[in-house]
Assembly symmetry: C2
Homo-oligomer: 320 residues x 2
């Protein structure tokens, strides 16, 4: 049961960094609460200050460890840090397998760190929308930095990476050769490459492969920012200072080049469109019931109609 809430009070307390208010607001926006619009409208003017850092890479490259090490680094500078650990692992159960308690235990007692794990919900950008909403809460709560950690390199991860001002792509030696790395589609989303577990065999080769791919990727060359390659051993916090320097440099470049407002406008446009499409999707259900879509689907399977004609009827009913 959703209790009635005083949104403006909750937002005011969030703005002041009240941890319980932050947690409660995130729960509301995650669960698509009836007050979501009101909350969002109240948060929009308070947000836009945080530097948003995305971390992505294949399972096993050390994303959680790197995230934790970065938190330590930013905290040492006195910055307030939010972490959103996006776990698209369990699309059908809707629950993250690793809870907040398992992740990042070393920061559990630190009042300047806000950690939230999110699991996948539905499809069509639902996770990206929920992540964007959570990001906005942490931003309004005064986080100087928000780290968004995503597993994998699929389209959902790319959508989430587009939320970030600075995207770190993590690799580790021995996780596949150069072609595999290229297949993973990382070249064009990375602002900074991190070769983690740099003490392992093959770290030099991974770095060379990356340099080679950068040299032969025209898009990377023309973007005005050449993604640096930073080697780290996150478990020992080695290379973290250089990584934070690279992040700072990217932030400066983003601001000076005008890329920051461009990315943020793209982000807002994507969010608006995703919200609009999810409204439309709900309307399909509301106007017709699941039964109507199911009937159309049965007809397609039986060869009696085709999916385009069925889709036409759904869209036509929107205006009806």
């Amino acid at each position: 049961m959703v209790r009635s809430i005083d949104v403006s009070d909750l937002v005011e307390r969030t703005r002041a960094g009240d941890r319980r208010a932050v947690a409660r607001l995130i729960s509301f926006v995650e669960n698509d609460a009836p007050q979501l619009r009101e909350i969002t409208a109240a948060l929009v003017p308070l947000s836009g200050r945080a530097h948003v850092i995305g971390l992505t890479g294949s399972p096993g490259v050390g994303k959680s460890t790197s995230t934790s090490a970065l938190v330590t680094g930013f905290r040492a500078r006195g910055q307030r840090v939010g972490v959103i650990a996006v776990d698209p692992s369990s699309p059908f159960s809707g629950g993250a397998l690793l809870g907040d308690r398992v992740r990042m235990q070393e920061h559990s007692g630190d009042d300047g760190v806000f950690i939230r794990s999110m699991a996948s919900r539905g499809h069509l950008g639902g996770l990206a929308a929920a992540t964007a909403a959570t990001l906005r809460v942490l931003d309004a709560a005064g986080c100087d930095i928000v780290l968004i950690e995503t597993v994998g390199v699929g389209q959902a991860e790319v959508d989430i990476a587009s939320l970030a001002d600075t995207t770190l792509v993590l690799l580790a030696p021995g996780m596949g050769d150069g072609i595999q790395a290229a297949k993973a589609g990382i070249l064009e989303i990375a602002d900074i490459f991190v070769v983690n577990k740099a003490d392992r065999d093959g770290a030099e080769q991974t770095t060379r492969d990356l340099r080679h791919m950068q040299a032969h990727n025209p898009r990377a060359r023309t973007a005005g920012w050449r993604p640096p390659i930073v080697k780290t051993i996150a478990s020992r916090k080695e290379g973290l200072d250089r990584l934070i320097e690279a992040i700072d440099s990217h932030q400066v470049w983003m601001t000076e080049s005008g890329e920051l407002p461009r990315r943020r406008c793209d982000r807002a446009a994507a969010e608006i469109e995703a919200i609009a499409l999810s409204q439309v999707s709900r309307r399909f259900a509301h106007l017709h019931g699941d039964v109507a879509l199911a009937t159309a689907a049965e007809n397609v399977v039986a060869g009696a109609t085709d999916p385009y004609s069925a889709a036409d009827r759904l869209v036509a009913a929107l205006s009806g």
Copy 2:
């Protein structure tokens, strides 16, 4: 330039297994040709016969090698085989890094094998829709088996996995421990687990981890089908007979349990909804121009409006 085509002639030749017609039809459906609806309407009654097998797993587990080995196995039984290699790697350039020539060279001279590589296009299910359309062409062309190979385990891959009648999840020893495998969200999409590179250290541990996770995952227990774990060394075609047996068993179970028509209706419903939403997305662009969405986005970034109000205006304009 799109040349005018005689759709019914092309479909007729596709039905007869004419390779050039198949390739041409796939190009049309991939490129969202103006004739896409007409082609789809003509193909729907001809399709639904192929057994669709999805293969997914992290980069480096040996998906391409396993796909190739399976093709050999099905060909040895005289079955016609289609392969769709989905490569969501390059979302921004729209081009697959590995072309058809690099993949699966050993089947290049075989008239009973159709191979197509696909790269990511746009977002919001565009790739899944294009994959579904390609699948339908191969199905209508008389393929007994269509293998869909996807990289990674993100939401896009899950959407594509939902196209399959039988989903194989590939793992390899040393690609991360049990928790990492669980994070990858594979338990709930797998109909069959394949532990490839089974001659490597850790294969037994990977198998034990999977069994342990299966035992503790209530959803897997209640589904009526306990996904078998098959060990293979795809590069030497070892274990392939057992894998094909497991695929056959799953097909029999799918038919006898009524799960096959259920999954195919779900697949059709998802396709209808994706087409409808992409029509709506195009309408947003058509009704307002990119400029209008961009203006709304700037207002959100400036804190002057919120994304929900902006989305409301987009959706309201649909009925206008």
